[in-house]
Point group: C2
Chain length 328, copies 2
Amino acid sequence: MTDQKKLNIPELSDVKKAHERISPHIHCTPIVTSQFLDAKTGAELFFKCENFQKAGAFKVRGASNAVFGLDDATAAKGVATHSSGNHALSLSYAAGRRGIPCTVVMPRTAPHAKKDAVIGYGGTIVECEPSTTSREAVFAEMVAKTGADFVHPYNDPRVIAGQATCSLELIDQVKDLDCVVAPIGGGGMISGTCLTLSHLAPSIEIYAAEPEQADDAYRSFKAGHIIADDAPVTVADGLKVPLKDLTWHFVSNHVTDILTASEQEIIDAMKLTWQRMKMVIEPSCAVPLAVILKNPNLFRGKKVGVIITGGNVDLDKLPWITATGDKQ
Amino acid sequence: MTDQKKLNIPELSDVKKAHERISPHIHCTPIVTSQFLDAKTGAELFFKCENFQKAGAFKVRGASNAVFGLDDATAAKGVATHSSGNHALSLSYAAGRRGIPCTVVMPRTAPHAKKDAVIGYGGTIVECEPSTTSREAVFAEMVAKTGADFVHPYNDPRVIAGQATCSLELIDQVKDLDCVVAPIGGGGMISGTCLTLSHLAPSIEIYAAEPEQADDAYRSFKAGHIIADDAPVTVADGLKVPLKDLTWHFVSNHVTDILTASEQEIIDAMKLTWQRMKMVIEPSCAVPLAVILKNPNLFRGKKVGVIITGGNVDLDKLPWITATGDKQ
């Protein structure tokens, strides 16, 4: 693993510093349980509710850690990012709290709710096409012009250390977990989870949950190297981005397994959560419950932490109601 | 007020007994706040989240108090009720916990989610037409046949004492409230609120919130006597029923004022709560937020308790998405 030397891998001390730095700007989100879902799965599920987080998602942890860690001169030039949504509004939120500019490159197809929220927090949007290629090209041009500090949505040690504070709270709130399940897109949350748990609770198994239709992390994990899709199509719009070197480091070294779910399984798990837990959650964070329901033997009898990553949904476009208003 | 002698009006001691009796069967629901809504209203809002209650609504408080207060011989014959929904499934839940039968007369037009939940808890449904007249006729016939104990959805001292436990928790969880806003339909929740607050915190103002299109309580309050509509039409389907003598006693003696909101205002407040608080709430319990948004001068600068009465929504029929799938 000699090439790890080139990577700036965050340490446990970075997580603790991050937690101290961001605590004034985030919520310690609650743990919610459901007797109905426990009975249905045979497991004890502890939902870490980042849908109730500031800006509606866990991404505010990493974004705040990056923004509030900048020296004043760098901060003055502002921050910039590309994101399918939650990182964008989280960075806008954090930049707004610090009083610095934030520019966001976002696919023109991103949900209106997320675009409105970015603008609501004072961010500026520059649109690109909905592909990784377009996003990166448009972004490079914008950063060259503004000189803003680039905060990558996940492949950034400051961001991973920030996301890692979620599991830090989780293992303080719930003792003796057997495993944790979190969604995987670019791998920021799962990397943060690996970072914290590998140091503080190495016996806890870490499962990453991914849409079948955007299963690049699953295929990477099985192949032993990063495989990237350019423009996957899934209802879990937060999970379309590929792994990068830093997140691949954590995924390849610390993840127990990656489990996938179909679109219908994701939609069913999302609707079930709304129906029984009365919580608005995004399609992306229904993937963990979907894989738990799909693999009962793996989770039965276990204490399972489930990270509900966000609640920013376009309420006018719900995946179980088709364009004609019919039920799916 | 000589005719009050005929009424069996619950006392504070009944509320305390109820709380002790039902505590093993209900949640002490959390208080949730929203900086966004505080900024928008200029008030400090404390949402008492009965949408996270057992069976998804506050009604389980009154139903459990009635069911667990029965002597064994009466209980063995079962319980019965008519209800537009949440009382029905709450009574089924409570009866199921005690292991006794529960029969429910319910309008054939009630949401599928509510019918399914009643059956899921082991209740039996007998359908009627969606009018108060039909409901009462079908019900009388059924009770004559089964000998079940009638637990009225709201005009029952056991039920009112049960609902009163909600405010008992609220004033313990949030100190120095200036006012409490709760929806009003038949008046069970508002009567319970009056019962608790008039004894323990008489300085707290009590506002009832009602749909304009089912404003029989508003008109009753202004007229000084009960006015009942037979079949009002409103998205707030839990608030269609009229006041009765017991609830009128509390409303006429202790409510500060009744405020109304239009259908669109109710739908907007419901959607705003889903969007910003990430909570699934029923149209009925969006009425308090709707009237707070509509009357900013009344609430600005005040500490306001807002009772979120339930979260049982038919997710296939959301009021801001029309039958053709278009936005409203």
